[in-house]
């Protein structure tokens, strides 16, 4: 299963490397969102500092949703899902592979956003380990939830508008936990950062289990 998952992830990352969608389109858009918030809260620098964690995850949500949409567009645009159904690759491998591909693309996005937050919102990273763990946990949760719900919307003609509608409520706990953990890591609020980080890993684990169990059904019925 791991070999097949890596095959899918490698293919998705290669498609991304050739198309440059993450770095060329999505990352600039996410950075623009950070800039817009910086302008919106310019009059109250303290408010911007306090909200830095939340605004970071809002930018990840916007950019990441586009990446998930893209991850399924490349499969649906020329009937590639049929090719998957006809191949020897199992649905759980496909789920893991797609999640892994999205994970690395969102990590790339975050590598652009973290310096953006530090520079634009004038915050300092107080706890690097917590920040890293929260980013990994939140990105994992985001990736597996996104791929699971992305597959549900993939077969529908209205998927472009439906996916964010499905995804935002599902990802609300991740956004909340990520914001709280980042607040602690950035030293703007004394929260139980590690508890919130653990919650994101739990959400990721639960959705991974659901995805492994149901992705075959979603693929067939999509």
């Amino acid at each position: 299963m791991l070999r097949e998952a890596l095959l899918i992830a490698r293919k998705d990352l290669r498609v991304e490397w050739r198309s440059k969608v993450t770095l060329g389109h999505v990352a600039p858009l996410a950075l623009l969102i950070l800039v817009v918030f910086a302008f919106a809260f310019d009059a109250n620098a303290r408010l911007l500092e306090l909200g830095a964690g939340g605004l970071y995850w809002v930018a990840v949500l916007f950019g990441g949703t586009l990446l998930i949409q893209r991850a399924f567009d490349v499969e649906t645009e020329d009937g590639n899902f049929d090719a998957f159904r006809m191949s020897a690759i199992g649905a759980p491998s496909l789920f893991l592979g797609k999640s892994l591909g999205v994970f690395f693309q969102v990590v790339l996005l975050e590598l652009v956003l973290v310096p953006g937050v530090v520079l634009l919102y004038n915050v300092r990273i107080e706890n690097w380990v917590l920040l890293l763990a929260a980013a990994v946990g939140g990105t994992l949760a985001f990736s597996v939830c996104g791929v699971l719900w992305g597959a549900m919307a993939a077969g529908l003609r209205v998927r472009a508008t439906l996916l964010p509608l499905l995804l935002v409520p599902v990802l609300a706990p991740v956004l909340l936990a990520g914001s709280r953990a980042f607040d602690t890591a950035l030293g703007v609020r004394a929260e139980a950062g590690w508890t919130w980080t653990s919650l994101m890993f739990v959400i990721a684990a639960v959705h991974t289990a659901i995805g492994l169990g149901t992705f075959g059904f979603l693929l067939e019925e999509g």
């Binding site: 490349v74 590639n80 090719a83 998957f84 159904r85 006809m86 191949s87």
Partner: protein, 217 residues
């Protein structure tokens, strides 16, 4: 000669519409079957039912020894399907794509080169993004992607579409080779001349039922 596809009064529904309405047909190993029929006759649906992509609602269907009522997934890995879509990743290079398909079907990556040569795609095109290819060249990549998996049952929907004369001749050769090496080929096409060139049998569908059958050659 063993039977590869055996349908008995098969009914299949897709999107609430009956696409096969009691189809009876048997196809033996090594046959090259030309499926004919007007638009909406059920040619594409027949192939998708054979591939297990559309479930059957009634009747009995057996493909490559698998009962399609109980298990429509297992035969898939032995079937090559080329539909109206080419199933291509347009951002990938030609060779990358075929190597990926080879790996996904459990074939060796090295087989990709042989498949690309067989469909007449020269080496200089292997490192070109698929989106830059012409429609005919894309069709050749799609055929190579299917060829690399060495399927036992080939299901091709208008496979000659977009191909030039040389490409059509090449595809016909490939189909005959596949059949002579033990594979079974079913292709849908509106072109009558193809029956004379490669098909060993011509089957006409209408309204999801069998209307005419030239019988096995």
């Amino acid at each position: 000669m063993s039977t590869v596809v055996k349908f008995h009064k098969v009914v299949a529904v897709a999107g609430g519409f009956p696409v096969l309405a009691g189809l009876d047909i048997e196809i033996a190993k090594g046959e090259i079957v030309h499926l004919r029929g007007s638009n909406g006759a059920g040619k594409t649906s027949f192939m998708r039912v054979c591939a297990g992509l559309i479930p059957i609602s009634d009747g009995d269907a057996n493909v490559l020894g698998f009962d399609m009522r109980d298990d429509r997934r297992s035969p898939r890995r032995h079937i090559g399907l080329l539909g109206h879509d080419n199933h291509l990743y347009k951002d990938l290079w030609v060779q990358e794509h075929v190597e990926f398909r080879a790996a996904a079907t459990g074939a060796e990556a090295g087989d990709a080169g042989a498949a690309l040569r067989r469909v007449g795609l020269s080496d200089r095109l292997w490192s070109v993004p698929i989106e830059r290819l012409s429609a005919g060249q894309r069709r050749r990549v799609a055929i190579a992607s299917m060829l690399v998996g060495r399927p036992q049952l080939w299901l091709l929907d208008e496979p000659h579409a977009a191909l030039d004369d040389e490409g059509r001749g090449l595809l016909d050769e490939i189909l005959v080779e596949a059949a002579s090496s033990g594979a079974t080929v079913v292709f849908a096409s509106h072109e009558r001349d193809l029956s004379k060139s490669v098909a060993t049998r011509v089957v006409t569908l209408r309204g999801g039922r069998l209307m005419e059958d030239s019988g096995a050659a």
